[in-house]
């Protein structure tokens, strides 16, 4: 089939402007599709990654906006199968500008490394974090986004809290899926806030995954009928509940992506029909010479699919590059992850592009390829 490649290439260059515009329109639609599909896909991926997590989130039964007493920590630590507990409070500060929002949290430093070994915190950075009261650990995307560096002093402006915090970056978090947020020490926050001994939630790590249900039941039972009853849930369930807030957005995003693909499919079909109609005379002559209708159909579909795949690759490449370069994603998924173009979405997008290419050309190509030669020649000879 390679000997036919020059025919495909020549026909693609027949109307450079039309080819370019078709590729561009498919590229834009695939970019929109890939960008919109990436958000829910990354969310699903994060939930999948945490499905077997040993971590439990313990928070106020009334909701995340309500704190729980810091004193619960000692009871939780004493619960069987619990190996680490980290109290956490949401600071919600901004860096410089109101648009510079990113997740920042205050945590008890003692067991951070034991709680999140998957965050790739180096021993040196962790040692600094435990020693320096104003220390901060930052996710790599946030470091890149604000062009921060280790050793830099940063001031976060309080939004929820009526004060600012000035922090020293002592390390960058890493690992396979590094978080995008900034961690600093809760003792620093508590002192500045004159805190009355409350935290937003407790992260609890258990010894093995089979212990998760037992510990969840045990924790909630311990704090039942107290002024601050708790609701404990596995990390996956906790993130899932949090992401449910975005469910409508995810569905709208996916719906819009499909609408864009469908619309561009119609445009591509019209373009393909026009392009093939213009060449019906040539097609009938090729068939008279001895090209079979199957070969003609394959050539026409190859052209259309090549255009669509080029558009798809450009669209996916643009989405990948923009996610990488601008990191405009920092808050899309809150504190849970960084938006990127998942491989599954890239494959889906390229599959959508190939489908557009195939379906848009199939009907006019088959019609032209199967046209009666005598009738066709009568029109052209």
């Amino acid at each position: 089939m390679m000997k036919y490649a020059f025919l495909v290439a020549k026909n693609l260059m027949r109307s450079k402007r039309r080819t370019l515009l078709t590729i561009s329109s498919i590229a834009v639609s695939i970019f929109v599709f890939a960008a919109l599909s990436s958000v829910p896909a990354v969310a699903r991926q994060i939930l999948g990654d945490t499905a077997s997590s040993l971590r439990i989130a313990c928070h106020n039964k009334a909701g995340l906006a309500y704190p729980i007493p810091e004193a619960y920590r000692s009871k939780i630590v004493a619960t069987p199968h619990v190996v680490a507990v980290v109290a956490e409070s949401w600071f919600g500060g901004i860096y410089h500008d109101v648009n510079d929002q990113f997740p920042n949290l205050a945590v008890d430093p003692e067991q951070v490394q034991a709680m999140w070994p998957d965050w790739g915190i180096s021993d040196e950075a962790y040692s600094q974090f435990t020693k320096i009261r104003t220390a901060a650990l930052v996710g790599p995307e946030t470091m890149k986004r604000f062009r921060l560096h280790v050793g830099q002093q940063v001031t976060l402006r309080g939004t929820y809290y009526p004060f600012n915090v000035t922090l020293n970056i002592v390390g960058v978090m890493g690992g396979k899926s590094p978080p995008n947020f900034l961690l600093f020490r809760r003792d620093y926050l508590s002192e500045a806030a004159h805190d009355q001994g409350t935290v937003d939630n407790m992260w609890v790590r258990v010894d093995q995954s089979s212990s998760v249900p037992e510990v969840i039941a045990s924790l909630d039972e311990q704090f039942a009928n107290s002024p601050a009853e708790t609701q404990s849930e596995s990390e996956g369930a906790f993130l899932g509940n949090f992401m449910n807030n975005y469910k409508i957005f995810f569905q709208i995003a996916q719906g819009l992506g499909l609408i864009v693909i469908f619309t561009i499919g119609l445009v591509a079909a019209n373009t393909a029909a026009m392009s093939i109609r213009e060449r019906r005379a040539e097609i009938v002559v090729m068939r008279a010479i001895g090209f079979t209708s199957r070969t003609i159909l394959a050539l026409l579909l190859a052209e259309s699919m090549l255009i669509a795949l080029l558009g798809g690759i450009i669209g996916c490449g643009t989405a990948y590059a923009l996610f990488k370069i601008f990191s405009f994603n920092a808050n899309v998924l809150g504190p849970f992850g960084t938006l990127a173009l998942p491989t599954s979405v890239a494959i889906e997008a390229l599959g959508a592009a190939a489908t557009i290419g195939f379906l848009s050309a199939f009907v006019p190509a088959r019609s032209a390829a199967q046209r009666n030669i005598v009738e066709g020649l009568r029109a052209v000879v």
Binding site: K3, Y4, F6, L7, K10, N11, M13, R14, A281, E282, V285, M286, R287, A288, I289, G290, F291, T292, S293, R294, I373, V374, L377, R378, V380, V381
Partner: protein
């Protein structure tokens, strides 16, 4: 003589259905064209010339009767088999050349060779020879729009002969050309017939063409009304035995 018959058309009829009406394009036509003959099919518009040519070229199938070319019965072949057969046995020349505008002269001539098993180098060699034969060795990289009508028709003839087909069929090959170019094309076809012993069947309105062919068949209203030797036969250069149906 029978073994010398390149084309045999035996009691062939062709009926088309146009809307609900039957159109009898050919009726019981029989003829034999010996190998190496340059034959012309002549007649007024609507006489069935092109229909007969299409049947000989395997582009169309008869409603009745049989067509054999080079000993191959083409009546029972499927569409794909016919396409494959045409690619090996038929060289087509059209009135309006029908070159692919985005391909160069060389690429247009190479086109039928894509259907063969020749290597790229062999295809190049064959296409160059064909273009040299029609006198366009210096126009390999020209696009159809950069050629005159006569030159375009020469490229079309090169495309028709490049696979060394059993027969060449030409439908009004001079119909779109001025007198001088038409004469050049007819001379080229005569040369192919004489020098390379190609069997050529040409449909034409052009009475000047009568001087260039061995044999003339005359059709009227779908019926073969007669045949006669052409100018070449009169010169004693062709040995043909015309036979009316």
């Amino acid at each position: 003589m029978a073994e010398n018959r390149m084309i045999e058309v035996d009691r062939v009829s062709r009926v088309y259905l146009r809307d609900q009406f039957e159109v009898h394009a050919l009726h019981e036509v029989s003829l034999q064209i010996p190998a190496g003959t340059f034959a012309a099919i002549m007649g007024p518009s609507g006489s069935g010339k092109t229909t007969l040519l299409n049947l000989i070229a395997g582009i169309d199938q008869p409603s009745n009767g049989r067509v054999a070319v080079g000993g191959d019965e083409i009546g029972g072949l499927t569409e794909n088999e016919l396409a494959e057969w045409r690619s090996r046995h038929i060289g087509l020349v059209f009135q309006f050349y029908n070159l692919i505008p985005v391909l160069t002269a060389f690429e247009n001539v190479e086109l039928p060779l894509l259907l063969t098993h020749l290597s790229k180098a062999e295809r190049r060699e064959h296409a160059e020879i064909a273009l040299r034969l029609v006198g366009l060795a210096d126009r390999l990289d020209h696009y159809p729009r950069q050629l005159s009508g006569g030159q375009e028709q020469r490229v079309a003839i090169a495309r028709a002969i490049v696979t060394d087909p059993t027969i060449i069929v030409a439908d009004e090959p001079t119909g779109d050309l001025d007198a001088r170019s038409a004469e050049e094309i007819l001379n080229l076809l005569v040369e192919l017939s004489r020098r390379f012993h190609k069997t050529i069947v040409m449909v034409t309105h052009d009475h000047r063409a009568e001087r260039y062919v061995d044999l003339i068949y005359r059709l009227d209203k779908g019926v073969l009304i007669g045949s006669e030797p052409g100018g070449l036969a009169a010169d004693g250069k062709a040995a043909v035995e015309p036979r009316a149906s």
